[in-house]
Point group: C2
Chain length 336, copies 2
């Protein structure tokens, strides 16, 4: 839910109040308050944050899934859990090739961390978790499929090692959007956790993970200036409204800060993109600029470069059904 | 106030409730509710937004300064103002070299726009305004001084043309942070409007506009992982906490997404910077990584690449006096 951060989005995605993954404790609090019970916080926990986790767990009478990838950190969590006199549930993070956080599925540390958790009276070993984020570097669907298999087999291997050593491992969790879309097999996994999957964006389109017509969010914006002397059309969506993320451009070189669509979001206008994003000004570029089609005051929709970053600027979603009619407003959370 | 977006910051900056510039109507509403009366909204107005401006003006019994750079838009504003039967005050935006919005100070359009405004019963011509944003491209203080003079003389020239043609011009407004810091003369200006000036950041430091010790905001963050196999220290501040803005790097090649300082924010730790920013993970890089000095759980402060974008992720400022003690909390606004 790191992309949508909205209860309505989560309800649609899980057909009710199913299991979700969050990226911050603010998200955890938001979803707990709205009836979600099965929550994994997929950023490594540290002892200083257990106090807040404890409050959430007590208030909502749940146990949140936390993650760790370090025996020393696990010892610190064990000590803090004892001070708080409360049970905390942990997954061990596996590095399936992304090389961000996590340990290799064959690393001795896996059993060492499992040992620390299992011996700690207030910790429960829930399972293993990985994020195949290196799928974002793949240049073909075939490559994504390879990463998906690496992701799957890595965490399944880790689970087998834990079970062989008599440790419990109820949850075997993997997931990134490209692998969720293109994996040939999820065998052995108990869950997948794609995030931007729920909205998609140009970064996913450029990676062949979605069609443009599957991108579910856009930023409604107004043309506020024509600078014909410098061949510019300016809109009122800049870096704050679109985010300064440019990651889509690695695979979609003309993504800019987003593509310019008509107000009804049915089609891209020519080859227009937002090429420059000042704080509140977006610079429309791409071929001959259609000044007449986009007079000052005209409205356009910008398909975002990276949905997670763009959505983060807003307190709510205006839900549009078919044409431009707003049929609902969905709140969302933000912050930490 | 586009950077701080906080009443307490504005009160410090103006020694009370003085004149301020805002970048959004949400900011205008926020500051009006907190007693500010003299407000310029420095993004070109379009007719469809006058309704909201009108509500703010009525509710707070003030007239907001709006800007325009187009005779057609001014005609549209005149028509909408008549419909709303309310007075709106306009400044004409001058392009002093940034080439974003505005017209050249010698352009015939200046008098044409002035004519449209002056003849409209519900519009009042307040003056001229420019933003010397091309100061951000300067590679030396001498160059910034040249841009500052260009900015100043451009808008003063426009004012002279208006007055020579018997149009009123009470306000002659210029401003960007580099020019505000380094200008030799503000002669003829009635105000300057530097934004990030109030906080500074690495983007300004790289442009020789501030010392590192003058940067007033930082992001407090916790070390959440050691990935020794891949030579990484991970912190819990990523793209959402720091923003994905990398503009400082053009002038400060090792700025990354921010510099890593000690928790008390007294000194940079080695040459450490945030080199990669995933949504919630920051990757610490720069020379030999001090795993022992930065154990999991240690806290660091990140000096931001671009303060305007970083601050936008937060609802409030934790005000720190000297050491790490939080002495106050200042709210801020966001959105549109």
């Amino acid at each position: 839910m790191k992309t949508g951060k909205s209860a309505r989005v989560a309800e649609l995605a899980t057909a009710g109040h199913g299991g979700i993954t969050v990226s911050t404790l603010a998200e955890a609090a938001y979803f707990l308050e709205r009836g979600f019970r099965d929550i994994t916080w997929a950023v490594c926990a540290v002892p200083s944050k257990l106090g807040r986790v404890s409050e959430l767990q007590r208030e909502h009478d749940v146990t949140i899934n936390l993650i760790t990838d370090d025996a020393g950190a696990a010892r610190g969590l064990a000590a803090r859990a004892a001070e708080l006199n409360q049970e905390f549930r942990l997954l061990i993070e596996i590095d399936s090739g992304e090389h961000r956080t996590g340990i290799h599925c064959d690393a001795p540390a896996l059993l060492e961390i499992a040992d620390v958790i299992s011996k700690a009276p207030h910790l429960v070993l829930e399972g293993v978790l990985t994020h195949g984020g290196h799928s974002y570097d793949c240049h073909s669907i075939a490559e994504i499929k390879q990463v998906a298999e690496q992701e799957r087999s890595s965490v399944v291997t880790a689970a087998s090692r834990l079970r062989a050593a008599q440790y419990p491992c109820s949850t075997i969790s993997a997931g990134s959007t490209p692998t969720a879309v293109h994996a040939d097999s999820f065998e052995g996994l108990t869950e997948i956790r794609p995030g931007v999957y729920l909205f998609f964006d140009l970064a996913q389109h450029g990676r062949q993970c979605c069609g443009v017509d599957e991108i579910a969010i856009s930023v409604l914006s107004t043309v506020i200036g024509h600078n014909r002397a410098n061949r510019r059309i300016l809109i009122d969506a800049g870096g704050l409204a679109l985010s300064k993320d440019t990651s889509a451009n690695a695979f979609l070189p003309d993504a800019g800060y987003g593509w310019v669509f008509d107000e009804a979001c049915t089609a891209r206008i020519g080859d227009l993109r937002i090429a420059t994003a000042d704080q509140e000004h977006g610079f429309v570029e791409g071929g001959d600029l259609p000044y007449d089609r986009l007079p000052i005051g005209a409205r356009v929709r910008i398909l975002p470069n990276h949905a997670c970053m763009t959505a983060a600027a807003y307190d709510r979603y205006a839900v549009v059904d078919g044409d431009d009619e707003v049929v609902d407003t969905w709140d969302r959370t933000h912050g930490w």
